[in-house]
């Protein structure tokens, strides 16, 4: 296998990982504040939907491809935040089971986005094709052998944005007072309350950021790989993002690594026919491999979970 192919595989890996990075970072914000978020899939669906229709109407209104794509991202953020409030109100204010409330988001997403798409586009199950983000080359850097092919040629802006957000999340979470408070309400809410941290307010913010980021993840799929929103645009990636978050031990850098790992497993499918040794292996085994590896790694290395200690528990000030 030559360097060119390796470079291309890395490139494709990053494209597939982009959505997962956003969504798993979103999951971290919510869960660090103590709110389980099984609704990542739903938020991604809402984001993919919002991006598809916003970019379409922006293009209709005469905006260029890239501008309309950014409008798509913006609208995805807005919708992500709005629907995240459903999860927040149910699980924080009304103390509903957070797992159930997350599942509700997934149900509502699957139903309402398709309903709206059919309503808006006369019964069609797909949103119209949009231009989305175009790939670009970074001048000079693209000529570096291997690295240029992998990181600086045919790249989408969303991929860079995702990597930027990894470091941003790390910084916010571990270097700012906001991050400290957010983590404290997830670890020990009553202690945080005692020192004057508004537990519920911080949890609301955590869930809202979560909704926004996961929605950007969904939007990234529509605006780069598919160009249109349909019922299978997201198809289970939100669940993989949850796995990436847990796999990465709720740490942004770890989640990034896990997301890249899953991205690689998706990318490798496109290239598997290139290797001679793989011809005789049934494709299902190759498809299975990343999930199998995840389990093996979990058993061997990760061991006992390192979830925030108040994760999943509604905060009740009267029950100290």
């Amino acid at each position: 296998m030559d360097l060119l192919t390796i470079g291309q595989i890395i490139n494709t890996t990053l494209v597939f990982a982009t959505a997962l990075i956003f969504a798993s970072l979103g999951g971290i914000f919510s869960e660090k504040s103590g709110v389980t978020n099984l609704g990542l899939e739903g938020f991604m669906v809402f984001g993919a939907f919002a991006a598809g229709i916003a970019a379409h109407y922006a293009q209709e209104a005469g905006m260029g491809g890239t501008t309309s794509a950014w409008m798509g991202i913006l609208f995805a953020v807005v919708l992500g935040v709005v629907v995240s409030l459903i999860h927040a109100v149910a699980s924080i204010t009304f103390k509903a089971d957070q797992i159930i409330s997350g599942i509700v988001i997934n149900f509502l997403a699957a139903g309402s986005t398709l309903y709206l798409v059919k309503l808006l586009f006369e019964g069609s199950g797909d949103s119209p094709l949009v231009q989305g983000f175009s790939k670009f080359d970074v001048p000079l850097l693209k000529d570096i052998p291997l690295l240029g092919e992998a990181f600086f040629k045919n790249v989408y802006p969303t991929t860079y944005l995702a990597i930027l957000f990894v470091f941003l999340t790390y910084y916010i979470m571990y270097k700012t007072p906001f991050g400290l408070r957010l983590r404290s309400v997830g670890e020990h809410p009553s202690a945080a309350d005692t020192v004057g941290v508004k537990v519920r307010r911080y949890r609301y913010v955590g869930v809202m950021i979560s909704g926004a980021l996961a929605a950007i993840g969904g939007a990234a799929i529509t605006l780069t790989t598919t160009g249109t929103f349909s019922h299978n645009t997201v198809s289970g990636q939100g669940y993989i993002a949850i796995a990436a978050m847990i796999f990465g031990k709720w740490n942004p850098i770890g989640a990034f690594g896990a997301a890249v790992f899953f991205g690689f497993s998706q990318a490798i499918r496109n290239y598997v026919q290139l290797f001679e040794w793989s011809q005789s292996i049934p494709q299902e085994i190759i498809y299975m491999l990343p999930y199998l590896l995840t389990i093996i790694v979990l058993v061997a290395a990760v061991g006992r979970s390192s979830a925030p200690s108040a994760l999943g528990e509604p905060y009740d000030p009267g029950k100290r």
């Binding site: 109100v89 509903a96 159930i100 599942i103 149900f107 309903y115 059919k118 999930y291 199998l292 979970s305």
Partner: protein, 359 residues
């Protein structure tokens, strides 16, 4: 008589009913916003399901696997486990049943069909037990391991069908032997030649067995104790880890059996699938609507099945996109989960009842 009245006024009865009504109303509002007539849509929905025998039978067929995956989720939930892997267990059960149904020939029907069912149940159970074992022995979160097992199960099912059972030139397995079929001709004829099958009766029996096991036996008591408080259960001398594996195994058995029903009762073969069928995930919703109680699951499956199957009629007769039903189901679960909202709506009624008592 008084007991019956008391049962009907209990919170566990009133709250889900009000949640269902609120979900239907919310769905109606969404239809109104979309420019549809909700009354027309809902009546089309119910006419589709209850209008004739054939459609009613098909709706019952649709409900049957949902009962099984719903029971599966509820059983694990009683042990404090979140079995999101119903999907994979369903597929593995389906494949095991197909394998036995196709490969084991020359057996009489009263051995072959039960054997295929048992194979489906056992392999579904083993599939879930992997997640249970990993949780018990290594502390691996069962949510993530069962998500992974869902995907592995999907590809494993496809692999087995393609390698061992493929019908030449088609993307599906060869048909199972007639001796493995659980179709019931008399029931099917009674129900307008719909594809109803013995699985429905087995599912009802399973719900009853679930109830007896969980609330009337020592083993069931242990599982519930572990679910309520594993530390206390451990202190009381129960084997928490063993109960976790056991609960997952039984949970997976129920889901696997549901998968077996689909092959042996409905399709008679298995296709190579591009994505998982979703029955396992829908079972989570069914269990949540049924508050993780076996009889609640039956009602949940009835509601879920009616709404889903009927939504086709709704879109045919009233031209309403059937996806609206997902919104209705989602909001029903939402209101059941966030009981605070329902209580708040019911507040005026509650305070009235209290006053009566004072008088």
């Amino acid at each position: 008589m008084n007991n019956v009245l008391k049962w009907f006024t209990r919170d566990s009865f009133i709250l889900p009913i009000v949640a269902i009504i609120m979900g239907l109303i919310l769905g109606g509002i969404v239809m109104l916003i979309g420019g549809y007539n909700p009354i027309e849509a809902y009546s089309a929905l119910f006419t589709k399901v209850f209008g004739d025998m054939y459609n009613f039978g098909e709706a019952v067929r649709e409900m049957t696997p949902l009962i099984m995956t719903g029971l599966a989720f509820a059983f694990a939930a009683r042990a404090g486990l979140f079995n999101i892997g119903g999907e994979g267990q369903f597929l593995v059960g389906m494949t095991a049943a197909t394998f036995v149904g196709v490969k084991f020939t020359g057996l009489p029907i009263y051995i072959h069909a039960p054997l295929a069912l048992i194979a489906g149940a056992v392999f579904g159970g083993l599939w879930a037990a992997i997640a249970g074992y990993l949780k018990a022995a290594r502390g691996v979160n069962e949510v993530i391991s069962s998500i992974m097992l869902n995907w592995i199960g999907l590809y494993l099912a496809n692999l087995i069908v393609r390698q061992f059972l493929l019908l030449k030139g088609e993307n599906r397995s060869v048909d199972i032997s007639d001796t493995a079929s659980i179709s019931l001709t008399w029931l099917s004829e009674l129900m307008g030649n719909s594809r109803v099958h013995m699985g429905t009766l087995i599912a009802l029996v399973m719900a009853v067995l679930f109830y007896i096991y969980m609330w009337k036996t020592k083993q069931g008591y242990e599982i519930r104790a572990v679910g309520y408080n594993p530390n206390a259960a451990e202190y009381a001398g129960m084997h928490v880890n063993r109960n976790i594996v056991k609960a997952m195994f039984i949970s997976g058995m129920l889901a696997g059996l549901g998968g077996a029903f689909q092959v042996l009762g409905v399709f008679q073969y298995q296709t190579v699938m591009s994505g998982s069928p979703g029955t396992g995930f829908d079972g989570i919703a069914v269990a949540l609507i049924g508050l993780n109680h076996p009889f609640g699951v039956l009602l949940g499956a009835l509601l879920f099945g009616t709404l889903t199957y009927g939504s086709a009629g709704m879109s045919f007769a009233a031209d309403v996109p059937p996806e609206i039903i997902r919104i209705v189901i989602g909001s029903i679960i939402f209101f059941i989960a966030a009981q605070g909202i329902v209580r708040w709506v019911l507040k005026p009624f509650y305070s009235k009842r209290k006053k009566e008592k004072v008088l």
